[in-house]
Structure formats: structure tokens, C-alpha cells
Amino acid sequence: MSEVVATPVEVTPPSPGEYGLFLKENGIDSKPLGKDSQDVEMLELEGKDLVKSCKLLKENKKTNFDLLLLITAVELKSSFQCVYLLHSLSTKKSLRIKISTGKENPVFPSVTSIWSTADWYEREAYDMMGFKFEGHPDLKRILNPDNWIGFPLRKDYIPPSDALNGPHPVSEKEMSDRTLSKPSK
């Protein structure tokens, strides 16, 4: 599968949008990623700038992103990515922030102190993709059982043959042995 490109390949790099310029004014560098089909601005930030810029984007009267709609955890070919979908109820505008890390140790800063809803979304990203969030109050699995092995939405994940009834993971032979050794009535 080819590497996902966020926008159709363009000859010239996209110019910074409204919020890219706003962050620039406040001394935070961002990489513009253009706009999506619904005219929503997308930009990429360095991991270390995330909490600072989210706080700024939420608390500033001009931007006022009070609603965190979604955190999407994405696995790309050579990196892991977190996509933050922000929305402002006062200006009716949306913004998409992306953060990338290497594949060995996916650690992201937590934004739970800014939006309470990030708590569960970050737990979900940990559960499904194995992302760690620094500063999260209680990072544990949310949808899968606590003793689950592996991160189901990773591309290299192999689902267990019998996830519900057997210990995980079990080989096919082990499974058939157990079935055969059952006392027959």
C-alpha cells in the first residue's frame, strides 16, 4: 500500500493558511498541508509545540477552538500520526492538526488538560494503535479487555483465531488439543 498523501500531489507547496499565520505570529512554526475538500485548513506541528499551541488556539478570543471533535490515530508507512480535529462554536471554523513520530517509540504529548474529551480518545488511540501519551492521568485500554495482546488497528496485527473463548494468542494445535481432551458425555 502506498504512502498516504493528505492532499493531491501539488507542484508548489501549499502556502500557510489563517491559523498557520496565527501560530507564526505567536512564535510557533508549523508546516502547512493545504486544505481538504471542505476547505478545512490542515497543518503539521512538532510534538513539543502541541500543548502550547492547543492552549493558545483554545484560549485566544480570535480562534477559540472550544470543541475537540476527534483524535484519529493513523499508521503511515514509516511513521505514526495523530490527527486532531478542532472546531470553534463561535467562529464556526475547523482546523486539523497533525503530529508525527517515528515507528519505534510512538509518544505524543497529552492534551487532556485542555479538552476533557481527549481523555477517552487518547485511551482509544493507546488501545488500538499503542500510542503513548505523556501527561495522561490514567492511560489504559478502553475498548479491548485489559489483558489483550497487541494493538488491533496496526497494519501488522494478526487477529487471534478464537478471541472470545481461548487464552490469547493460541495456536491452532493447542486449540484442537483442548477440544479433544474435553470429557465426553
Binding site: M1, S2, E3, V4, V5, A6, T7, P8, D36, S37, Q38, V40, M42, D66, L67, L68, L69, L70, T72, V74, E75, V83, L85, L89, K92, S94, R96, W115, S116, T117, D119, W120, M128, R141, I142, L143, N144, P145, P152, L153
Partner: protein, 407 residues
């Protein structure tokens, strides 16, 4: 009960130990399978931790391992009470990405069916809500009676009672059956509005109901926004946030309706908002049926000829092709690489689909923003220091559907 405060001595004498008990995961009034770990001090909830995931079916994994067209049939299962909204959000995300133009008639049909679905969902949630409060007097039977009528309407349209799979890429599965619009209109005009009055007569001013609901489970609007709560829950706390009005999609900008908003923010306000939404949805359906381009099915081609000879046609040849002849997209439909986020106002709040495509026939990443997930995440804040009996009332008033939480 009044205890004279003698420098805290009596309170100390009567202090009870905190006890941790489980509510669920098989509690009949938890709208699915939810487990609450409650820390109780006597009858008061001191802390609460919702444990979710018992209905996790891996909807995102399934989506990423099926083609766009195959996955259409599964999306109704995300929130099984609002299957039309699920389909609508998913299909809108694809259509935004592939820039598919939807015929006007199909948009109207989508709105009619989604609003009927909203009524179904609210009727069920209202019925169960009263049942959770202990009203065994038959209120659910009233709502379920009318729910049944709408289910048979939708069955006529889509062939299914709950998992409709009706909204498809580029339009809808097939056109409305003959005489259907007249039947729906007659039922709403002659019966449904009366039924809503009937529900209100049964519950709204009932003194026991008022004691159980008023001033209980207050949701602070700022806290709600911070937790991402949407839908009737946040509108009952005074925030006018309804995507149908706020960012009109489909043909909602051509229809007139009010968004019920209450500033009270308690359990009763959320109930009142839902009752009002029943009437608004019915109004929307009546308007959409009146404005439906092409009218009833059997007149579609005739109308087209008549209209093109005289004035400007209200629908194009494309409408005929996709709606009347039931044309479907190819099984290996490939939207271009890109990213889109489409959201609709489901009965429970903002339901969104974040889609990242790489140009193949399978979604690269598909993420659901299900409203119940956010709505249940605020529960522990709302039940803190409330009697344990109110926990069920508060949870029920949030109208959470657990398959929507767990996906």
C-alpha cells in the same frame, strides 16, 4: 432527615465506609452492556467509572478490511437505532472525497428517511427513559406502538426494519414505493401530532415524574463542550448547536424548523428537548414531502416531460437514472486519495466519519466520531454526589446507545 450539627460528632458517629459496587454489565436499564464501578457512601455516589467495550465489534477494523461498497451494509450497525444517520455520515464522507453529485430528489428522500429514523430513536429513548424512572404504567407501550408504524414505513422503503442499508453512494437504494408519501403524510397529520400530545399528557406534568427529573443531573454547558457532548444533551444546557441549522448539509437549508433549546440543563430539560424534536422532525418530513421533486414515483417521468416543456425542470436526467432506475456504483468504487470529515446530526448528537483514502478501493483509515462515546464520558462528572437511584435517571436521560459507544 435533619441532624443537629454538634461540632461534627454526630456526623462522625454515623459515617459509613465507602463501598465499591458494580452496576452492570448486564443491568437491564443500561441500554446495552455498560458497567459502572460505583464508589458509594451510603446511598450517595462518591465516584463512578464507566467501563465500556463489551459491545466492541471492531467497526473500524472491519471498515479498513472491506471495500467502500461492501462496508455500506455494515455501517447501520454502529448505532442500531439511527442507522440512517450512520449511513448518511459515511456516504457523505465518500461523496465529499470523490466529489459525487447527489440528485436533489435523493437528497430529499434521505432527509425524509433520516427524520423518520430520528422519531423512531427518540420514541424508543423516551419510552425506555420513563421505564428507567420506574413508570411501569405503560408509557413505553404508547411510544412502541407508534414506533412500529414508522418501522413498517421504513421497511416498505428499504426492505429492512432496522438495518436499512438504504442510503448509497450517489443517492439511495431505490425510489419511494407507490403511494408511500401520501400514507406517511396522512399518518403524521391525522395521528402522530395527537400521539405526541398524548405522551405529554401522560408524563410532562406528572408530579412523580417531575420529582424524579427536575433539578437532577445538571450539566454545565462549558463542561459539556469540554467533554465534546453534542445533540439534545448540550441543547438542553443552553447551547444552540444543531448541525442541521448550524452547518446545513443535504437540503436542510431549504426547510423551516426550530431547534428546541433549554437553559435549565437537568434531566427534565433533556426530556423536554426530545419531545419537542419529535414535533420538529414531523414538520420537517411534511415539508420535505411537499417539496419532493418529481412527486410520487409513478409520476416521475410524466412530470419531467411536463416540466421540461414549460418551465425549468426541477430534476435532471441524472435524477431519473440514479433514483428511478436504481443505478448503483461499481463494486470496486475508488475515491481519489485524500482526506475528508463528514458529520451529520444524529438523534444523539454529532456523528462524524473521518476518512483517509489512498486511492484504492479500501479505506486506508476510517474513524467514527460517535456521539454516545462523548456523551457517556461525562457521566462520572454528573453522578458525583448524587443518590444512587438517580444514576439510572441521569444515564438514561443522556440517551446513550452502547453499540455506538463501543463501535
Amino acid at each position: 432527615m435533619s441532624i443537629v450539627k454538634d461540632s461534627g460528632q454526630t456526623e462522625k458517629a454515623f459515617k459509613t465506609d465507602e463501598m465499591v459496587i458494580n452496576m452492570g454489565p448486564q443491568h437491564p436499564s443500561t441500554h446495552g452492556v455498560l458497567r459502572l464501578i460505583l464508589k458509594l457512601e451510603g446511598e450517595t455516589v462518591r465516584d463512578c467509572e464507566p467501563v465500556i467495550g463489551y459491545l466492541h465489534r471492531g467497526m473500524e477494523w472491519l471498515g479498513q478490511n472491506r471495500t467502500y461498497v461492501q462496508y455500506q451494509a455494515l455501517v447501520d450497525r454502529v448505532d442500531y437505532l439511527a442507522g440512517m444517520s450512520d449511513s448518511h455520515a459515511y456516504i457523505m464522507a465518500i461523496e465529499q472525497l470523490a466529489k459525487v453529485k447527489v440528485p436533489l430528489r435523493a437528497e430529499y428522500i434521505r432527509v425524509i428517511c433520516t427524520e423518520l429514523n430520528r422519531i423512531i430513536s427518540h420514541l424508543l429513548s423516551l419510552g425506555i427513559f420513563l421505564l428507567d424512572l420506574g413508570a411501569m404504567m405503560g408509557f413505553p407501550f404508547y411510544t412502541f406502538r407508534d414506533r412500529e408504524t414508522i418501522l413498517s414505513f421504513l421497511e416498505e422503503v428499504s426492505g429492512q426494519r432496522m438495518m436499512f442499508n438504504y442510503i448509497r453512494i450517489g443517492g439511495v437504494f431505490k425510489d419511494l414505493p407507490k403511494g408511500w408519501t401520501r400514507k406517511v403524510k396522512k399518518w403524521i397529520n391525522e395521528e402522530f401530532f395527537k400521539y405526541v400530545d398524548e405522551y405529554e399528557a401522560l408524563a410532562t406534568n406528572n408530579p412523580i415524574f417531575l420529582v424524579r427529573t427536575q433539578g437532577i443531573g445538571y450539566m454545565d454547558p462549558n463542561l459539556g463542550i469540554s467533554y465534546g457532548v453534542t445533540g439534545p444533551n448540550i441543547r438542553a444546557s443552553g447551547i444552540d448547536f444543531d448541525l442541521r441549522k448550524y452547518q446545513p448539509y443535504s437540503v436542510y437549508d431549504k426547510l423551516k424548523f426550530n431547534v428546541p433549546v433549554s437553559k435549565v440543563g437537568d434531566v427534565n430539560a433533556r426530556y423536554a428537548c426530545r419531545i419537542q424534536e419529535l414535533r420538529e422532525s414531523a414538520r420537517l418530513i411534511l415539508q420535505a414531502i411537499d417539496q419532493l421533486p418529481g412527486g410520487d414515483t409513478e409520476d416521475l417521468e410524466k412530470n419531467k416531460v411536463e416540466l421540461t416543456s414549460g418551465e425549468k425542470p426541477v430534476f435532471s436526467a441524472e435524477d431519473l437514472m440514479i433514483v428511478a432506475k436504481g443505478k448503483q456504483v461499481a463494486a470496486a468504487f475508488k475515491p481519489p486519495a485524500g482526506e475528508s470529515y463528514a458529520a451529520v446530526e444524529s438523534p444523539r448528537g454529532q456523528l462524524g466519519v473521518h476518512l483517509i483514502a489512498d486511492g484504492s478501493s479500501v479505506p486506508y483509515r476510517l474513524k467514527w466520531r460517535s456521539p454516545s462515546f462523548n456523551n457517556v464520558s461525562i457521566l462520572h462528572e454528573m453522578v458525583k454526589n448524587q443518590p444512587v437511584a438517580d444514576t439510572v435517571a441521569i444515564f438514561s436521560s443522556l440517551d446513550v446507545i452502547l453499540p455506538d459507544v463501543d463501535r
